[in-house]
Amino acid sequence: MIGPRALNQASVTAAMGQRVARFGGGLARFVRTQPLGTFGLVVCILVIVVGLIGPWIDRYEPDLATPADRLQGPNATHWFGTDHLGRDLYSRIVAGARISVYVAFFSIGIGTTAGYLVGIFSAYIGGKTDLVIQRFIDAMQAFPAILTALIIVSALGAGLDKVIIAIAFSLMASAVRISRGVVLSVKENVYVDASRVIGASPLRIMLRHILPNAMAPYLILASVALGGAILTEASLSFLGLGVPPPAASWGGELSGNASSFMLSNPWMAIFPGVAIMVVVLGFNLFGDALRDVWDPRLRGR
């Protein structure tokens, strides 16, 4: 005889199996209908993996300077050549992937998430609170995001964590706007009234009823913003206001001293730029495909 407990476990396993199958089916459909998005997904996975296992696949210490080997073109010992200090470019590109992925995911994770939560709060509470919050967002949006990040990073000083905070902050305003718009329509649903009637607290309604129903736009927003965050990090580091040297940030590779050696070894300028471009392209394509799949208004186009 099967006890209630065992039955429960069996149904849980079955439910999980269903979920896995549904995920697999969704993935297969995604691959079939979104060839460019799939390419983007592959690039994303690739760069994340490179970022994670970087220290195992680089060929030299990324910061190791061997002046005797400086300014080489691509060859068998240095696949991508070397820079003006004789550092192996391939190893630095690999190390840069880690920085880019790290900055992108953390800044989106903090900025977009915080902005989204503020937007939910603002839209659900409404009234004067909403008005005040929206005026602050107006003020933040009165300034280009990249310049906001620039000013903040200059106030905080250079550093990996500071770049993350700066980019996160610059992303908040648009996240607040978008989530507010979504929640204004979600909160009109009957189930929101129903849970209010049975005495659920506003916090519970926001987190358990509104948040899950506003999840798709959040994921779309976050995935679309990832490429932008990588670009912003690269731009800040390029200006010398981002991740400080000798860290192998892709933007930093192109800046300052390095740029004066580019005529003698153009590869120094080509590889980091191509790395930025391919990764941003991958994240953008994946984000766009995700939006096509999830945003019902765009479906079937």
């Binding site: 933040m140 009165a142 620039l150 000013i151 106030a155 731009s235 390029f238 005529l263 392209l281 953008n284």
Partner: protein
């Protein structure tokens, strides 16, 4: 209409007030004030005594309470007095007069370029949906959306130096002083600056056009025998442009941000290089003024865009 503009202008006041508070608060978090940086000697060591630091702070007004500093800044700015650079002692308004025209011109040139190229690309792409041309143009725009502007600029400079012996000039002329020299100097940076804006306009125009082309009135226009050209230009394009306008407004912010970076690559003495130098040296007065000017530019552009809506879409009225 006039009433609407007036209301919008009044609404800008609280926004600017909050904005100025944010900027001021943020800048005063800066570690190491300008007084310290001014007294650093050539070797980078801090040799000045505490007393001389204090004297300098007093001279610059940095030892006053923060709210006094804030109020005097706002008061001066409203009266059009942007103060003097803490570092060079030059009047900020004089500097702005020289630098603003270059940046505005750069931004406008790339705005015009990106709109005049991006929008037609999007329309062609939509009209010839799923053709080889469409795929080609879409790839083109995806490419430039992902390529960082500063890198494209570096590549252009590298390629120019390699194959054509071309180097970007140092020293820029103003448009009304030497028009030809000015245009040839700013042309390349403006093109590069406009590339990603062009790409995103092409993409928005394409999707907006596709949406409009599915509307009933387009079918009606076609079935009453209008030429395809007329259908596209007179019926579809005008309606498809409305969402694209918003993007053009938002793009202006991205163009301003991009110009800060491109100016420093091409050594253009505009607002961008001014801002970056001031940031590096914690020159508050300059940073504050540049930031306020940027915000004003951005806000007024978006006001103009909103007014253009009414012109494009008669259903929107600002009575």
């Amino acid at each position: 209409m006039r009433k609407y503009i007036a209301r919008r202008l009044v609404l800008m006041v609280p926004t600017l007030f909050i904005f100025s508070l944010l900027v001021f608060g943020l800048l005063r978090v800066l570690p190491g004030d300008v007084a310290e940086k001014m007294l650093i000697d050539d070797s980078g060591a801090q040799t000045a005594s505490k007393a001389s630091l204090e004297r300098l702070r007093e001279k610059l007004g940095l030892n006053r309470p923060l709210y006094v500093q804030y109020l005097s800044w706002v008061g001066d700015t409203v009266r059009g007095d942007f103060g003097v650079s803490l570092l060079t002692g030059r009047s900020v308004i004089q500097d702005l007069k020289q630098r603003l025209p270059l940046t505005v011109q750069l931004a406008l040139m790339s705005l015009i370029f990106s709109t005049c190229v991006g929008v037609p690309i999007g329309i062609i792409s939509a009209v010839k949906q799923n053709s080889l041309l469409d795929y080609g143009l879409r790839f083109f725009s995806i490419f430039f959306l992902a390529a960082p502007g500063f890198w494209v600029a570096l590549m252009v400079i590298l390629a120019g130096a390699f194959w054509f012996g071309w180097v970007p000039t140092l020293g820029y002329n103003l448009l009304w002083q030497q028009p030809m020299a000015n245009l040839s100097q700013l042309g390349v940076p403006a093109l590069i600056l406009g590339l990603s804006a062009m790409a995103s306009k092409a993409r928005y125009t394409r999707s907006s056009m596709l949406e409009v082309l599915r509307e009933d009135y387009i079918r009606t226009a076609r079935s009453k025998g209008l030429r395809e050209q007329v259908v596209i230009v007179r019926h579809a394009m005008k309606n498809a442009m409305i969402p694209v306008l918003t993007v053009i407004g938002l793009q202006f912010g991205a163009i301003m941000g991009g110009s800060v970076i491109l100016e420093s690559i091409f050594g253009i003495p505009g607002m961008g290089t001014y801002l970056i130098t001031a940031i590096r040296r914690s020159d508050y007065t300059v940073v504050q003024s540049v930031v306020v000017v940027f915000a004003l530019m951005f806000m007024s552009t978006n006001l103009v865009i909103d007014l253009l809506y009414g012109w494009l879409d008669p259903r929107i009225s600002y009575a």
